[in-house]
Symmetry: C2
Subunit: 340 residues, 2 copies
DNA sequence: ATGAAAGCGCTAACAG
DNA sequence: CTGTTAGCGCTTTCAT
């Protein structure tokens, strides 16, 4: 008739019923190989029946690790990052040891990123995955040397990192456009300041150069990472005295907005203007028209990042590596030869 | 020259330097009003300088609350839920006391949902927000009475819940279609089993009835919650001997896929077929054409849910309430009169 | 207003 | 193989 909010069981409760000491129960759970077969069985059955669960606070206090990892993304409400997050979750579910996932949004804001680092420190997460942080140096320096880290889309010799082969990917994209006969090719980046934008712009320009194509300043627009931004940028591009015949959006979302804008103006995609995106976000192949894009395998990368992180936690002495993902160009219907 | 991975400071470290006992430091942090002004100041300055942070495990072990809340969504890589998540994060950031956010995906899977409940139990989260759980009764019964909970898009007298006014919203949507002159209206749901699908279908059918419109069985399709699914469902609909002149997708993502499919077949949206979505996901207004949709304010709802949860944690005795969100129909360009 | 002491539940020596 | 013991770092009576 215990009316109290049933207090969780403790090791002692189990020990009492099993007729052993609480440390034996602890051992049974953490190092079963050290326990007599019969006793072990008896204990584990009891644990099952009673539904005992180790108090994570007590355990963490003792072991000083939290079984928690953190993921820091610029924004969770961005399909590519949401996808990457799902990949991380998937890896965590497959892992043999349970890890909880704490998610933070940095909003591409350096100050907030530092604040988050502080939080990670306080909460003593076992590891952290940083995705394409804001400008400046990755904030990993604010974190203890011995905290496992992996960087995504940002490189740093001293930390494991997963990066994209922007050079190769953008050459492939520009090659495609070049083969179709495009000469006037514009780009819509996310913003003017973020490293992500700058890098994609840089390699895009480099790729154009490979084909002897210049990049006029008026062909560099900024879309604020949103569909709306892509829309507005496209409007500006299309109003140019000499509008581009092809546009690269540094994100599918931006590219989608660009296509919407063009269509709203009565332009036909791809006949009047080709569009290429980046990420292969879910749904991009169902747009009108289906979007040609560079597939960045966000889910896969998230999963891989988590696997690397878990490995690093298990074996902290492994040398940091950098793995480079190549981008695959998915040719769909948003690209075609320019109107002659 | 301490080479060790600098161990975090403890209360004792601070106490030592401040020339007081560790309990005084603890009090200074948790109950400053009990401490002598001068001492308090001295201690807090030290805390600042040294960068001391309470060890969360020790505190939680003592207080048995975790300063962590959980969010359980069907899938994080779904724009509406990602948006809702962002709303939850926003509320947490604005709150006076820090709470960490643990995120779980239930995949609309009852078994997994139960597993997650188990996890929540083990991790002793202070509260949980369940979003449109899988079929069956909400799993809140598996959780201790005294754990704060809020349900989103699922109602339950005994728990705070946020629900959508599907009835009103769908009547508005159908009214719009009816006024435009549509008679042959189809629906693409998410799946055949989930409560979310069933409810939206039910109220859609009810809304059609309000205008004297029947819903033929062949006008009920299922899109698996994805753009691809919406695409395929639309293909089936359009191949019917008598294809619908308007389609309601229970999700913008599904509706987007439906529009893409129609376009790929050479149909013009909205001239040949109107499309209405649900959620007003980011980007829906930049589609080709911009999608008419029922705005479900996901971000706002997430934020509100978190606020309610925090209130509940603070004041557990408050009566559970149910707040109903009305849906606003955003008329954009994907709806028009049917071809005469 | 402050200190001493107990103990949250657990893990990991250390004995036996 | 198992029990005893000593903390992990903190909050909170209970004294003073």
């Amino acid at each position: 008739m215990d009316k109290l909010p049933n207090k969780p069981l403790t090791l002692k409760d189990v020990a009492l019923r099993a007729g052993v000491s609480h440390s034996t129960v602890s051992r049974a759970i953490n190092h079963p190989e050290l326990i007599n077969g019969a006793t072990l069985e008896r204990i584990m059955k009891l644990v099952q029946e009673l539904g005992y669960h180790t108090n994570p606070f007590a355990r963490s206090l003792q072991t000083s690790h939290s079984s928690t990892i953190a993921l820091v993304v610029p924004s969770i409400s961005n399909l590519a990052f949401a996808n990457l997050t799902a990949g991380v979750q998937a890896a965590l579910e497959e892992a043999t040891t349970r890890y909880d996932l704490l998610i933070f949004s940095s909003d591409e804001n350096l100050k907030k990123e530092r604040f988050i680092c502080n939080l990670l420190l306080q909460h003593r997460v076992d590891g952290v995955i940083f995705v394409s942080s804001a400008g400046g140096p990755p904030p990993t320096s604010l974190l203890p040397e011995n905290m496992a880290k992996v960087l995504v889309e940002r490189s740093n010799k001293k930390v494991d990192s997963l990066i994209l082969d922007l050079e190769g990917g953008l050459i492939e994209a520009c090659s495609h456009l070049h083969e179709l006969g495009h000469k006037k090719i514009a780009i819509i980046t996310g913003d003017t300041t973020s490293i992500t934008s700058k890098e994609r712009l840089k390699w895009f320009q480099g790729a154009l150069a490979v084909f002897g194509l210049p990049l006029a300043t008026e062909y560099v627009e900024h879309g604020g990472w949103t569909a709306r931004g892509g829309w507005e940028a496209m409007l500006r591009l299309l109003q140019l005295p000499e509008p581009p015949t092809a546009v690269f959006g540094v994100t599918d979302t931006i590219a989608m907005g660009a296509m919407g804008a063009a269509s709203s103006l009565g332009f036909n995609i791809p006949a009047d203007c080709s569009v290429i995106g980046f990420n292969n976000e879910p749904g991009s192949s169902e747009l009108n028209p289906p979007l040609t894009t560079l597939d960045a395998c966000s889910f896969q990368i998230g999963k891989h990042a988590a696997e690397i992180l878990l490995g690093k936690i298990r074996n902290p002495d492994r040398q940091p590596t950098e793995v480079k993902y190549s981008l695959r160009l998915l040719k769909r219907s948003s690209t075609a030869p320019p109107r002659s």
